[in-house]
């Protein structure tokens, strides 16, 4: 009995020391991390807005992939989208014109494989989607040969992102339907 108590006590002390150490590091790094994330999000929004001023954020309650949207003063929208990638959710911001044509998009956070799905973070990745609405390429066969490097080894990422962008386009179409 005594032996078990001693063993449990040792494990408890080690865990408590580890938790204390982590708490100290967390208190130092947490504000920096959240500041960095907020900064990245603002930068991404500014990037996709194309110079238009960004209005209030509206949360979409039960959107499948659309989390919420901002209205732009040029009549367009910026959508906050969640895509299903290979390594979990991919968060992205995408701006659409009022008729649902994609004008810019950027990945904010992801856990995709470095060197494969992680390429979706790069600026050229979204080129094949820009200027498209309902005709968004959601299958890899609908892409040209030159896009092969975006998709090879990362078709899950591609499918996830393109489905989210298509959902965004559909969502924008319903928004305008309500307005007219």
């Amino acid at each position: 009995m005594k032996k078990y108590l001693k063993t449990a006590l040792i494990l408890f002390v080690i865990c408590a020391a580890a938790a204390l150490l982590l708490a100290v590091f967390n208190s130092v790094t947490a504000p920096k991390i959240s500041a960095y994330e907020a900064e990245q999000k603002t930068a991404a929004l500014k990037n996709v807005s194309g110079g238009a001023s960004i209005g209030e954020y509206v949360i979409v309650p039960e959107g499948s992939m659309v989390n919420g949207y901002y209205t732009l003063d040029n009549g367009g929208y910026i959508l906050n989208l969640t895509a299903n990638g290979y390594g979990g959710s991919i968060l992205l911001v995408a701006s659409y014109s009022a008729d649902g044509i994609l004008s810019a998009a950027q990945v904010i956070s992801n856990s995709e494989t470095p060197g494969l799905g992680k390429k979706s973070e790069e600026s050229w990745y979204m080129d094949k989607f820009i200027g498209k609405g309902q005709n968004m390429p959601i299958r890899k066969t609908s892409l040209s040969d030159s896009d092969a490097q975006a998709v090879s080894g990362a078709s899950m990422t591609f499918t996830g992102i393109s489905k989210a962008l298509l959902a965004g386009s559909n969502f924008v179409a319903t928004l305008d339907g309500g307005k007219n």
Binding site: I10, L11, I14, A18, L22, F25, T29, P114, K118
Partner: protein, 209 residues
């Protein structure tokens, strides 16, 4: 103190090519040189501190609960590395992505704790950690270099000033052998390199006799 503990991880007991530890990150992260360097540095850091701490606690930790204790210690160091990188070097943090938390279950670290640190002195454990960590980084960088040069025709390093960190190799950049940068290429290359190192060490042994 034994200097052999330091050098054995580099070639004679190289974690990747000879004792075949840590294959999962080796195959996954070696698509770009910078990822290999970052992963190697992370493993080196965690291995160094976990080996020292486990060696220091080897007489306190009861044998029956040693694995949970090691995991707690290793996971704490990995989480610290993760938080510090996220706060102070976000570009490396986002480049390593999912592989950073995977260091927790990287068998090099648990393997060295189990096979070395819990039997040897603190100094020897620290030397072992440095040797193994540097050996792991070297092998990772070698694999990444070959895969990136042939698979994408680039060498990605740190971006400094005007240099964006990407070297392009003329012919291979236009016509890369794409399969080498995919998972199948990693396995093939790993097999060839393992065969090469096997041949090399056999040859060396033959000369010694």
């Amino acid at each position: 103190m034994n200097i052999k503990e330091l050098t054995k991880g580099l070639f004679k007991e190289n974690p990747t090519f000879i004792i075949m530890l840590g294959m999962c990150p080796t195959l996954g992260v070696t698509t770009q040189v910078i990822n290999a360097l970052g992963m190697g540095a992370g493993v080196l850091f965690v291995l160094f501190f976990s080996n020292i701490l486990i060696s220091a606690l080897k007489n306190i930790i009861p044998n029956s609960i040693r694995i949970p204790c090691y995991i707690v210690i290793i996971a704490s160091f990995v989480t610290i590395v993760e938080m510090v990188l996220h706060a102070f070097a976000p570009s490396i943090y986002s480049a390593l992505g999912v592989y950073l938390p995977l260091i927790v279950v990287n068998c090099i670290i648990l393997g060295r704790a189990e096979a070395f640190a819990n039997k040897n002195s603190i100094v020897d454990s620290a030397l072992d950690a440095i040797g193994m960590g540097v050996g792991f980084t070297m092998s990772l960088t070698l694999i990444a270099l070959i895969r990136e040069v042939f698979g994408s025709g680039t060498i990605t390093l740190f971006a400094i000033g005007n240099f964006n960190g990407v070297l392009k190799i003329p012919v291979l950049y236009q016509w890369p052998v794409r399969v080498i940068s995919l998972a199948a290429g990693a396995l093939l290359l790993m097999g060839y390199l393992k065969a090469f190192f096997q041949w090399f060490s056999e040859k060396k042994k033959g000369v010694a006799k």
